[in-house]
């Protein structure tokens, strides 16, 4: 009689004596699998819902940027109207200024003074909303990630 036959006989005997123990083990294993699956599902749901919320926020912010740019353009144009050459001259005359003549100009030497040159007049660059700037961690699925890892391993990449 070898050791393998002894173990089998022992299990058969144990089942005959208390079959519910083995059933409990099976049920326990099944429940463990269900719990693990539920955890993965919950995690996946959590990640995808966060991604969806972030996506919606991006959509809202994009719309908001457009609206704000339009408001900014409106205000800029209004400001330009309020400071137009004609309006400024009228205001200057109203408070007592008059155009000077060349004979009235006095020129002073200011050491180190550099005449102002026209500078960049635009606002800050528009934020990039293309896929290029979004890291793949935020766009790829779990399966995509796994595929990439496998492919990297096959190529020997770190």
């Amino acid at each position: 009689m070898n050791i393998q036959n002894v173990n089998v006989n022992h299990l058969v005997h144990a089942y005959k004596v208390a079959p519910w123990r083995v059933q409990r083990q099976w049920i326990g294993s099944a429940l463990l699998a269900v719990v693990v699956l539920a955890m993965i599902a919950t995690l996946y749901l959590d990640v995808t819902s966060h991604a969806a919320i972030a996506g919606r926020e991006i959509q809202d912010l994009t719309a908001s940027i457009s609206a704000n740019q339009q408001v900014s353009a409106d205000l800029q144009t209004q400001l330009a109207s309020l400071t137009s050459a004609r309006v400024m001259e009228e205001r200057a005359r109203k408070i007592g200024f008059r155009p000077m003549t060349s004979a009235e100009a006095e020129y002073l030497v200011v050491p180190g003074y550099m005449a102002l040159e026209p500078d960049i007049l635009s606002s800050a660059p528009v934020p990039q909303l293309s896929a290029l700037t979004i890291p793949p961690e935020y766009t790829e699925s779990l399966l995509d990630w796994a595929d990439k890892q496998i492919a990297n391993s096959a190529r020997g990449a770190p």
Binding site: Q70, S84, R86, A105, Y107, P118, S122
Partner: protein, 582 residues
Amino acid sequence: MRQQYANRVQVLSAAMGLIVLAIIVQMTRIQNSPEAAVFRQQASNYAYELRTFYPDRGEIYDRNGHLLAGNQSVYEIGVDLTTVKDPHAIASAVGVELGRDYAQVIAAIQSPPEGASYVVLQDFVDVEPATRLQELKEILQKNAEEGALGSLTGLEFKSHPQRSYPEDSLASNIIGFVSREGRGYFGVEEKYDTLLAGSPVQTFVPTDPNKAFEIPRVLNGTTLVLTINRDLQAAAEQILDESLETYGADNGVIAVMDPSNGEMLAMAVTPRMDLNQFWNYASIYNKASDFNPVISKPYEPGSVLKILTMAAALDSGTVTPGTTYLDTGAILVGGATIQNWNQEPWGVQDMTGCLQHSLNVCMATLSTQMGAGTFYGYMDSFGFGHLTGVDMAGEAAGRLKLPGDADWYPVDLGTNSFGQGVSVTPIQIMMAASSIANGGQTVTPHTLYAMVRDGRQYNVPAQFAGSPISEQTADTLSGMLAVSLESEGSLALLPGYRVAGKTGTAQIPVDGFYDSTQTNASFIGWGPVDDPQFMIYIWLERPSASIWGSETAAPVFAEMAEKTVVLLDIPPDAIRQGLAAK
């Protein structure tokens, strides 16, 4: 007992298994049912929407950052026919706020084109009336019974940008305008229309928030920075308007350029139009060339062209400043007699005297001595008969008749030398004269200082169009012109600043004959002579106070030059030279 528990567990497991199996079967059945296909199709219909992104048109600034052309929100007001509740209420509200006819609005809502679900009642509505209508709609919605719709339900507001010009008519001839279809007309708006407008992008945009990163990025149109100085432009327009009144001229031009690099600093013309009311164009201008005569209205300039004849004669070695000749008051060229402006002889004159007294006979003598080949070769290299390449739409090339042309006669060699029988635009004369002010190098006039795109500024370098004369010739002639102004005590002189220049009085051809009572009075000048920083061109059409350029255009030059030195911070010669010496 244990066996009993085991049986219960088995039954329970089987029941649970059956439930799970039923759920899986039901899920599979639902997923593959015909209704599921319909729902999937409906979902895919809403997964993407076709949208066209119109970039905002680029702005236009002057060289100091003053906005000359921007964008302002306006509204398209329409009715969503699928949700409209009370067409009469909408017609009444729109009639009151927008001044629309009640019957027309009702007809538009109740009899829309077949298949239409939305009708536009009015576009390009200003913010104020549109806001009032929106507020009215909200109030009516609030006052409606609970669960009911307000009577303006269905009235829709869509905002979009419209071109706006904060300076109204200032520099209208330079800027041009944009039609409601978004197309640029005249000036910079037309020349750089493609750059300013940007490229509309039509694409399917995902509604799925997980694909938000697929929203395309649409670059706005390129912003332009012009070389124009707004304050100098305003001063030029003011001086021009006053001059037309003072001298009784029909129309006029004042153009200011930096002769060292071709940057146009100001370009005043009459008439001008309020660019915010571009639809008045047809009632203001008779023809397109009237919009910006500086670049698009060729005319016979008269004696201002003598400086170029003299430049050619000096540069070709035909004469020197000290060369003298006996002016008899007339010369025969090509079978026709050419006389001085006063039909009098001026005796022995040197070349400075020729310019100072503006002697036609002297100029005809020089051109005939040079010969047609040399004379027209220089005129061609000065750019006459060619476009200058100024970056504004609608430039005209003028006309320089050449030997061999069907309408060229030998007498033209004489008359062309003092600006008759040749048609040029003011910008062409400025470009040609820049070679004299700029040490022999001709600059290409331009209005674009820089482009701003995607947060970066690209400056436009100066362009040179050749060297028709030597530096020595240019400096010599500048000195001669300055002396000639000083010797005659010209009204163009500006105290404290040495300027060079020349008047022009050209009779206007009427029905094939020159009318001595109708003239174009002109003046071209630059300064300071030793370091030219501005070049000014004056053209007054048909001045009635005096027909002479020396009595009309010359004082306008002095007035404009004074304004220029003040606004550009150019100190008087003595101070500037003193500073340079230190």
